[in-house]
Every structure is written in C-alpha cells, then in structure tokens.
C-alpha cells in the first residue's frame, strides 16, 4: 500500500491513472444516464431542473478533465518510456505529483455533490451547474450566488496544474530520454502524438488558467472582468475559454490517433503507411488547432470578416485529418488483418471519426452553424468525435497494451461483446441526435415539449446510452474476470507481434524496464525490414545492478496543499487557505532537499 502511495515508477503511476480515471469515467457515465433517462420522455419528469443542470455540467467536466485526459495519461505514463527506451520519465516525482493533483482535484470537484448542508443551501448537492464551458456572466456571483461555481473554478484550476506538470514532464522525457539511435523520425507515432499533445497542453492550459483566475477574482474579490455593468465583457470569457477549449479537443483526439497508428500496423502486419505524413499532419493539426477557437462563437455576432477567417482555418483542419484517415486505410491495404478486439476498436475509431469529422465540416460553415450550434446536432458531433473517436481509440489502446501493463490478456470474447455493444450503442445514442438537433432541439434543456416532434428520437438515444452503459460493464467485468483467471506473466510478453520497443521487454516490465539499453536502428526495431534485423532479445537479468529511485511522500503532500487551499477559499476560511500555503511551502522545500536515496 505504502509503496503504491509513494511510488514514482511510471508504470505504477500509469496503472493508478487508469483505475482512477476509469472510476471517474463510470461516474461521468452515470451522470450521462441520468440525463438520458430524463430526456427519454417529453415534459421531463425525473430530476429537477437544478439537478439536471448539475448533471450535464459535471458530465462534461468529468469526462474531459477526469476521464478522457487521465485515461490518455495512463497510457502516456505506462507506454511512452517503454516505447522510447527509457527507464522512467524525466521527473518521476513530478509525475507522481501530477497524479495526486489529478485525484485530489477530482475528489474536490465531486465533493460538491455532498456538501450542500455545510453551506446551508437546503440541498445535498452544490455541484457546478453552469455547463463545462462556464460561460460568463452566468457564472458571476450575481447570477450564481452559491458555492457551485466556486467548486468548478477552483477544481478545474487544480486539474490544470496536474496537466501542466505532466505536459512539461513528457516533453522533456520524449525529447531527452530516447534510447541511442532513436532519432525523432524513428519515434513511434503514439509517442509523437503525445509530444504534440503535450505542447498543446502547455500552451493551452495557461489560457484557461488565466481565465479562471479572472473569474475567481470576479467571484471572490468583486472585480469586473466579465461583468458588463462594471465595464467588463462576458465575450472575453468566451475567447479565453475557447482558446483553451478548442486545443483541448486536439489534446483529447491526438493521443487516440497515435494509438490507432500503432494498433493498425501491428494487426495488418504492415508498417504504418506514410509515417512522416502522419506525423507532420499531427503537428499541423496541433498548430491549426490554435487558430480556430472562434468557430465556437459564430452565433456571438463577431462580424462577417471574423466569421469568414475562422471558417477558413477550421476547414483547413479537415485536410490533415483526412490525410491521416487515408494513410490508415492505406496501412490496411494489402495487409493481413487480424481482427483482435484492439483492431476492432481501432477500425471502429476510423469509421466513427469519419462521421464526426464530416458533421464537423458542416458547422465549420458559419451560416449553417447558426442553425446547428447549441443544438443536439452538435451534441451528436462531439460524441462521434469524443466517444467514437477518443474513447474507441482508448479502448483499442487498452486492449492492445493491457497485456503489457499487467501481464494478462483480456478476454477476446468479452472484448468483442464490448466492442459491438459500444458501436451499436453509440450509434443508437448519438446518430438520432443529428435529427433531433436539426429538427430544433437545443442542448442543455431538462425538458422539451412533445410538439417538437423529437420524442421518439430521444427515446432511441436513451436506449443507446444505456446500451453503452451495458458495454462498459462488460469491459469492467473483463478487467476483473481475468484478474482472477490468469496469473501475471502467464501470457507471452508480446502476444501481438508488435514492432516497437515496449514489446522488447517482459510483460509486465521489470521496474527498471530495460535490462540493457537497446540501440535503435529504425522505426520498427522488432521487425525484420529491408534495412535491418530485429534487435537482439534483451538479457533476462541486467548484467549490472540498475539504480531505481525509491518512493517519496512529498509529491502527495505537495499535491494535497492545493485542495486544502481551495477548500479554504470555498468555505471562506482564510486560515485554511494559509494552512494549504504552509503545506505547499513545506512540501516543495522538503521535495527539493530530499536525499537522492529516499
């Protein structure tokens, strides 16, 4: 137990990220099911408007910050050092810090569901209720007087710290800790997309950090950055939020694109088609992702020039995205496809992401978007991208790398059930939303009149959502069932015949990862190619002792300071804030002077 809490081993942190993020994924899923149960019928009777608004706010916030990002972080942690031939990440204790900040920030945010009585609100829950986008000036103290938005502002701020710390950590790791011979254009595509993702993180998160600081000042200290009556402007919030929010979409999708770029070659027995083009198009998506934020704001009325420019930049993104899809299909072309569960999810990713991408093009056009934005059409779009894209991609990654992470194979039979139920469920849930949106159903409504004519579409969506729930339970069972069924290490270290370095080490890998440092001669070090032989098997035991740093308490203690400070702010107890500051100072100091042999 202690060894897990104090661990700085990237593999253990990767598993911690997985289980924690998966728990939050289940919570976010339950919130989605409450939403869908309410909307199954018109004139919604089930939960109150207040509860419904908390549900969609926390569903969005949880899925983005507490489920999808940390699930990608789980794979970054476990796989990246193995793929590049490193013994750990560059800053192992900072890595543990990121994890603990994420967990505690998530707990802080979700604690708002249960602490209403402490604020004398009469309701149990004071969860955030202004949407995951938290548009000003609804979030001002005047229009949201309760602690709900305080929890959101401070919780998301804390989670940003975790993402930023991890972002720097992985950039340094990928740039500096590659094995001998692994030039940048030999780096596996998953690692490449991670690198691009982390550059987006360290440039996008400061923007939301600033926005949240301004909002915090508005709410706690009476400033007027977003309050029109005081000379502020709520539109400023929209610019800041989407300057973060759109790059955030690529933070969520690029890792999944990286996963698919690893899974397809392995199960096609062919190298990735157009490696360099796939890498460059990923970089291009990262860059272009910075210049499109106002396409979330076409209904604001920014003027025809601004709308035209942002329409143009948004459409440009379709080009590198399309190029990636063509390269994936070309990877399949002429291959020997093995339909493992990982491969099914990767193929499902491509098929569904095409739909999400194409509906995205329809609202890249500002006039068309004026009818689509803030309707269920956009809900359909984001779920084709984030569930059909990111989640299917992540499932592909977990089925692919689970044997590496645990030494145990997941059941392929259950995996196929999981895949098909997910695919059918998501299409039942999200495809009818295109129609309900075009037929006039706005987002974020807890009730709708029968006369809109969208009742049966909503019922189908609800059935689909519950089917996704069943699929997720199958996955959950798969994770547990095999825990009992197979001992770790019982499976082969490489069940798939992968080409990249992580498959050169045992499954699960020893704490030092590589017994000797491999020397890399190409992009596919474990495959025989025209230019080189597969690298020789690594010795089972290291020829010389390998120093592995011990654990440390200080990342956890330093991380704990942040929710303490936030709790003080929410409860208006200055001494609690100061206590948090004190813990932070002590934590950082002791961290800095911790003896090397901890």
């Amino acid at each position: 137990m202690k060894s897990w809490i104090t661990t700085t081993d990237h593999k253990r942190i990767g598993l911690l990220y997985f289980w924690t993020a998966f728990a939050f994924f289940l919570i976010g899923g339950l919130e989605a099911l409450v939403i869908r149960a309410q909307l199954a019928r018109p004139e919604g009777v089930g939960v109150s408007a207040e509860v419904f608004n908390q549900m969609f706010t926390m569903h969005g916030t949880t899925m983005v910050f507490l489920a999808l990002m940390p699930l990608t972080a789980s794979l970054f942690n476990f796989i990246i050092p193995l793929q590049i031939g490193a013994r750990d990440v560059a800053f192992p204790r900072l890595n543990a810090f990121s994890y603990w900040v994420f967990v505690l920030g998530g707990v802080f945010l979700n604690a708002s569901f249960f602490v209403g009585p402490l604020f004398g609100t009469g309701a149990l829950s004071v969860a955030p209720d202004a949407g995951w986008f938290g548009y000003a000036n609804l979030t001002s103290r005047q229009y949201s007087p309760g602690p709900n938005i305080d929890f959101w502002v401070l919780g998301v701020q804390i989670l940003g710290v975790a993402s930023l710390a991890a972002g720097f950590n992985f950039i340094v790791t990928i740039l500096n800790m590659r094995a001998p011979g692994m030039r940048m254009l030999r780096v596996p595509v998953f690692t490449w997309m991670t690198l691009v993702t982390q550059f987006i993180v360290i440039t996008a998160f400061p923007v939301i950090t600033v926005a949240l600081v301004l909002l915090m000042f508005d709410r706690f200290f009476g400033t007027h950055f977003f309050v029109p009556a005081g000379g502020g402007d709520p539109i400023l919030w929209q610019h800041l939020f989407w300057m973060f929010g759109h790059p955030e979409v690529y933070i969520l999708i690029l890792p999944a694109m990286g996963i698919v770029s690893e899974v397809l070659p392995t199960f096609s027995r062919k190298p990735l088609f157009g490696y360099i083009v796939v890498v460059y198009s990923g970089i291009l998506i990262g860059f272009l992702g910075w210049g499109v934020w106002s396409h979330h704001m076409f209904a604001v009325g920014l003027g025809p020039i601004a709308d035209s420019v942002f329409a143009g930049t948004t459409m440009l993104i379709a080009i590198p995205t399309g190029v990636k899809i063509f390269n994936w299909i070309a990877t399949l072309w002429g291959g020997q496809l093995r339909f493992t569960t990982a491969m099914l999810f990767a193929l499902g990713f491509i098929a569904m992401f095409i739909i999400g991408g194409l509906s995205g093009v329809t609202h890249a056009s500002p006039p068309a978007d004026l009818q689509q934005t803030d309707t269920y059409y956009v809900v359909a779009h984001i779920h084709y991208v984030l569930f059909g894209g990111t989640m299917l991609g992540l499932f592909a990654g977990f089925y692919y790398w689970w044997p590496k992470m645990t030494g145990r194979l997941l059941s392929e039979t259950l995996g196929r059930w999981h895949f098909w139920l997910s695919l059918i469920g998501m299409n039942l849930a999200f495809f009818p939303m295109h129609f309900s949106g075009l037929l006039g159903m706005p987002r974020r409504i807890y009730t709708y009149p029968d006369e809109l004519g969208v009742t049966s579409m909503n019922l189908v969506s609800t059935i689909g959502a519950f089917l996704i729930g069943v699929a997720t339970l199958v996955f959950f069972w798969n994770l547990f069932r095999h825990r009992r069924a197979l001992a770790p290490g019982a499976g082969p270290s490489d069940p798939w015949g992968g080409a990249t370095l992580e498959w050169a080490v045992p499954s699960p890998p020893p704490v030092y990862n590589f017994s000797v440092m491999p020397v890399v001669e190409g992009r596919l070090p474990l495959w025989r190619t025209a230019r080189h032989e597969p690298i020789a098997p690594l010795p089972a035991t290291p020829p010389a002792p390998i120093h592995v740093p011990g654990g440390s308490w200080w990342p956890l203690i330093t991380a704990a300071a942040l929710p303490v400070m936030a709790t003080g702010a929410v409860s208006r107890e200055l001494w609690v804030v100061l206590l948090g500051v004190a813990v932070l100072i002590v934590g950082v100091y002791r961290w800095a002077y911790e003896p090397f042999e901890g």
Partner: protein, 341 residues
C-alpha cells in the same frame, strides 16, 4: 402524419429522413431548421444542403474504402507476409489536394452566405428590439410604441431587423424556420435581418444555456398578412383612460389587487398609471397573448391562477415570488389580466 404533409414540411432533406421513417412520421416539426420560411433560413438551408451532399459523398467514398479493405485484406491462413509499403508520394499529394478542392466548393458559398446574412436590413425594415431576460423575451417596436413579451408579431414579406440585447446574462434568439440563432449579450447589440415569405406561427426558444429555467424560455412568432398585422398593432395601442369594464364585474377589484399586492413594482400596464415596473414583462395587452410564463403555458384562467399563486412552483427559478393569494383575490386578478386585450 400522412406522407404529403411530411414531404411538404421537409422539402430538401426529406430523403435523408427516410433513414428513420419510424421516427420521422410524427411531424410536422414546428422548430425544424429544414423547413425554412424566410430568406435568411432559406439561404442557410441551401448552404447546408450543399455541404451535406459533399459530406455524404466523402462519407460513402471513405467508408467504402475502409469496408472494402477490411473485407478484402482479412488474414487468411497460409498467406504470405504482406509487402512492407512505407508510403507513396503521389498518393499523399492526391489525398491532400482532393479534400482541399472539396473545401473550396464549400468555402466559397459559405463566405458568400456569411456576407448575405450579416444582419443588414434595408432602411425601410421594421425594427424590433429583442431583450433577453431570465427566462422570458421582451419585444419593443420603437416605431409603433408597442412593448410586449414572448410573442412576436411580424408582417409577412416585410424586411425585419431584430436588434438583440440582454438585460441580465447571455441568451440566444432562435426561431429555426425564420433564421439562424444569434446571441443576446449584455453590453452588446447584435442583429438579425430577414424577410419571412409565408404567414404562420413559428416556435423558437433560447439556445444559450442561461440558468435554471433555460429550457423554459420559449417564444412564438406570428408572421401575419399586412392587414392582420395592422389590426394587431391597432389593438396594442394604449386605450384612452381605464378600459371600459366589459362583462366581468371582478375586473375593477382585480385592478385594485394588482396595485395593492405590489405587482406594479415589476410590471407595466399602460392604462394603469401606478404600474410602471420594468423588471417583469409588460402586461398592457396580456389578455391578447396566447401563452404566459415565457411561452410555457397556454393563456388560460387556470394557468394564470397557478402562475400568479406560485410561479417558481410551475417554472423552476422563476423570479416572480409566490403570491400565495386567497382564491377570491386570485380570481379577481385573473379576471383583470384577462380583460387586458
């Protein structure tokens, strides 16, 4: 609904709805974006149809390639190792240029439509100020001296310019069959311009999340033939002096209750000099409206009673405090409000 009505309701994309015949037969869809009744919404619908066909074309081509590859190249026992193809420059250039070309076909009409629908109405246009409130709509006709709420009356075939602003937080004005949505932002004035091509009743609602009762912020637009519209305008003009008590004897008593219970603090009634409040909807001709409470309920005596008795109980978060008046006073108030036609 029978087929012909359904066809008429969804003229352009009707075939795409065949994909869901069981779902689509409920029509008509009063808030549909696919059933345009103005130049603005028709321009958007035409553009969307154009993009939709391109998207469908790309969808069919790419998904077919994917499905073909999945079936054609599935692993067969004893097959030789696949050739390790690393890339193909001509192909890469080809599938970079092809989507770029399609995007040009989308971008050109897009930008043309952006400028055509930028909210510039001719000077002769009827101007209406739309002001968003939590959770109702205020409509002011500066040239006609009319202020009303939640139900917008417009003449058909006449250029309309809506000047949109907000009294509290951000809302979004959306009547899909008349045009695309536009935000109402405090501190800003935004515009929509359109000309409706057919008379009718069109539903809309707030599209930007605006708090507890966002779902209950609805509106109706009555596009009327010119004569009908002028009759409505005439009916909205303030009567000279207190209206002649027509029929119901409780009307004078209700008028007193309206003053005595503090309704006048938030509501304006033109004929009642004490009632000059501006926080709530102007009730000068509330009896002529078809709905109350932000378009949520039909304007019936029963609904009015429930609404006045305890507004937050029937519309979450409603800012009008519960009056909890006894029945006799409620009856009088309802009779008075219904007399304001």
């Amino acid at each position: 609904m029978s087929e012909p009505v359904y066809f008429a309701a969804v003229p352009r994309l009707k075939w795409s709805l065949w994909l869901l015949p069981a779902l689509a037969c409920r029509g008509p869809f009063p808030q549909s974006t696919l059933d345009p009744r103005s130049d603005f919404s028709a321009a958007i619908d035409g553009l969307f149809t154009n993009i939709f066909w391109w998207a469908l074309f790309v969808f069919v081509v790419v998904e077919s390639l994917l499905v073909y590859a999945i079936i054609r190249y599935r692993a067969r026992p004893g097959a030789p190792e696949p050739k390790p193809l690393h890339g193909h420059t001509a192909l890469e250039i080809g599938w970079t240029l092809a989507p770029a070309l399609i995007l040009v076909f989308i971008a050109v009409p897009t930008i043309r439509t952006i400028f055509a629908t930028a909210g510039h109405a001719p000077p002769s246009a009827l101007r209406v100020e739309v002001i968003g409130h939590q959770w109702w709509w205020e409509f002011r006709y500066p040239s006609l001296g009319i202020t009303t709420a939640n139900e917008l009356h417009l003449p058909v075939h006449t250029p309309i310019q809506l000047d949109l602003s907000s009294a509290d937080i951000i809302h979004s004005f959306w009547v899909p069959r008349l045009g695309g949505k536009r935000d109402l932002t405090p501190g800003h004035v935004t515009r929509i311009a359109f000309r409706s091509d057919s008379a009718g009743e069109y539903l809309g609602q707030c599209a930007e999340f605006c708090g507890v009762s966002h779902a209950n912020m609805r509106l109706r637009v009555f596009v009327q033939p010119e004569a009908e519209f002028q009759a409505w305008v005439a009916g909205q003009q303030p009567a000279s002096g207190p209206a002649a008590a027509g029929g119901d004897a409780r009307v004078p008593e209700g008028r007193q209750e309206f003053v005595r219970n503090g309704c006048i603090a938030c509501h304006t009634i033109a004929e009642l000099p004490q009632a000059r409040g501006v926080l709530g909807p102007n009730l000068s001709r509330v009896g002529s409206r078809t709905t109350i409470a932000g378009g949520l309920f039909a304007n019936t005596a029963d609904n009015l009673r429930r609404w006045i008795h305890n507004a937050p109980a029937v519309k979450p978060g409603a800012l009008m405090p519960p009056s909890l008046l006894p029945d006799s006073e409620l009856d009088a108030l309802v009779a008075y409000l219904q007399s304001l036609k």
